[in-house]
Homo-oligomer: 335 residues x 2
């Protein structure tokens, strides 16, 4: 019999909450037999939303949480003060081992703070990085760290490299994932003080496949599987990826509407274009794990729809089955 993975879902977090979150939870339950969901949030609101969907009722439980943490709230204060918020209550379910994982599309800052304060870091972990998968020409790479851990030190980046390797090897299934550090040139002597300090440390590690520096230009080409950087650079990379992609598509769309000839052409290319662009759409990956905690925390994009929420929930199965947290502790253990 397959092991059941229990996921605490923050029904109130995100631009499309609670509607799309509840819909995504129902979808995840229908599609995966081995998931049990705690849907955490305002009980009456959730119950009403659930009425619209078909789902296996024996694998869902609503946990009432009257409060909601808004995106604009200062994270530390929100987590400390709003004890009755959906986020705090859901995180506590993971802390108390009632649930295995926590999924939320709510405030990134609050998720990062809450994950570390309530669930806590695993043994040996200095910082918990947020590590989304980003689409590349060849598939996907793990960008680690994109969280709120700005001003990281070299020892943190070394841990990110190890954790990222464990994730890509075990969850994504890539043998000996290529690990690279984000830099402004390919040569070892290039970079800022942090990169110059970290580079030789990564080079000396025997348990990861370090391939050197990666320039930002080569990230979308998929030249490495694990892209190590501190969170400020990671955040810039993640968001610029999104920004350039969406502006280019809008520029292309304008071009397709600029003449009758182009409009006819646009109708003909639409299905093929849609299919290939899907390859380059990060929403297929569902959410970004916050690695190195005592339980699993997955941050879904703020604008997530039901499909992305369902993907984020499904992602927890692999994470639990592969026992990633233990493997991370082992990988860091040799320090």
């Amino acid at each position: 019999m397959e092991e059941i993975v229990k996921v605490a879902v923050d029904a109130m977090g995100g631009d499309n909450a609670p509607g799309e979150i509840v819909k995504g939870a129902a979808k995840a339950l229908r599609e995966n037999d081995n998931i049990y969901i705690y849907l955490v949030g305002q009980k009456d609101v959730i119950e009403k939303e659930l009425e619209s969907y078909e789902y296996p009722k024996e694998r869902i439980e609503i946990v009432d949480a009257p409060d909601v943490i808004e995106t604009a709230e200062p994270p530390v204060m929100a987590i400390r003060r709003k004890k009755e918020s959906s986020m705090v209550i859901a995180l506590k379910l993971v802390k108390d081992k009632v649930a295995d994982a926590f999924v939320s599309a709510g405030s990134s800052g609050a998720i990062l703070v809450g994950g570390q304060l309530i669930i806590g870091k695993a043994k040996g972990v200095k910082r918990a990085p947020l590590a989304p998968l980003i689409p590349t020409e060849k598939g996907a790479s793990l960008l680690i760290d994109c969280g709120a851990n700005v001003d990281a030190r070299a020892e943190h980046l070394v841990q990110f490299a190890k954790m990222g390797s464990v994730y890509m090897e075990n969850v994504v299934g890539i043998n000996h994932p290529r690990v690279a550090i984000v830099n402004i040139g390919a040569e070892e002597e290039k970079g800022n003080a942090l990169v110059k300090e970290t580079y030789p440390m990564l080079k000396s590690l025997e348990d990861i496949n370090f391939v050197g520096s990666i320039e930002a230009r080569d990230i979308p080409r998929g030249d490495a599987d694990v892209i190590v950087c501190e969170a400020f650079a990671g955040n810039v990379i993640l968001k610029l990826y999104e920004g350039v992609g969406s502006v280019m598509l809008s520029v292309i769309k304008q071009g397709l509407l600029s003449s009758l000839r182009a409009k006819i052409g646009a109708l003909l290319i639409k299905p093929a274009l849609k299919k290939t662009l899907k390859k380059f759409d990060s929403s297929q990956y569902g959410g970004a794990p916050l690695l190195g905690l005592k339980g699993l925390v997955v941050k879904a994009h703020g604008s997530s729809t039901a499909t992305e929420i369902a993907n984020a929930i499904r992602q927890c199965i692999e994470f639990k089955q592969q026992n990633i947290n233990n493997k991370i502790t082992e990988a860091l253990g040799d320090e």
Copy 2:
């Protein structure tokens, strides 16, 4: 009578040197009556290349330079040792006021080092930033700094904001350019230590139009005219822009070849698509100025063709006529 702008062009720098550089110089001379060019490099090679083109011979002079600085050479050593290189000799023409400006598609590192060591920084300038124009949905923004000045301090970023404002106002012609600092959130309290220190300093300046933080996602939308950041982040932004753009186009092209229907559509949309994508092509801007020196230094992209070289040369006219260096010194003078 219009003032003549004298430009020292490094004929040997760049992936397509000397062919495209010489061709670009001839083009710039044909198209602009008020330009005089010193074409610096191996005399016999340049003479042979020039034979293929029509150009006004009275406005060009070949300056022999037997040596070439290669892209892979460590910049400081290359500039110090290769006294007979095209780059060093061309930079000296600017230092000695023989030429007003220097244009090269060669090694970025060597151009940055050479500009500062040979031409020297203008009075009051703490660091000379490399500031390319990047395309946006609405036009173009100045990204300052993308150079080799990593690990910048807050006082440097403040100067970048002032220099960038002068450039956008006078060269690009934008009234009260909106200045923003690259950050990982819109709120004032967000950011790494450098941004947190710089933000209030920028906010207190009365002579620039500071609009606050900009997230990387909003850069391609053109939400600010002057994008201030330290060079590591700037370099990541510049190169990721290029990388995401080219990979997306290649993904789209694959899609257009995936079925007969799409192939026919592709033929129909081609002219319109080409026209709109041109709007989003950074090569139209020619080169990036290295601001804050005693003379003008323009870095063209390593892969520049004749058109980009001609654009980079033409760019020097506006810079000289608007007397940007003096305006920068004035803007920094109130410190």
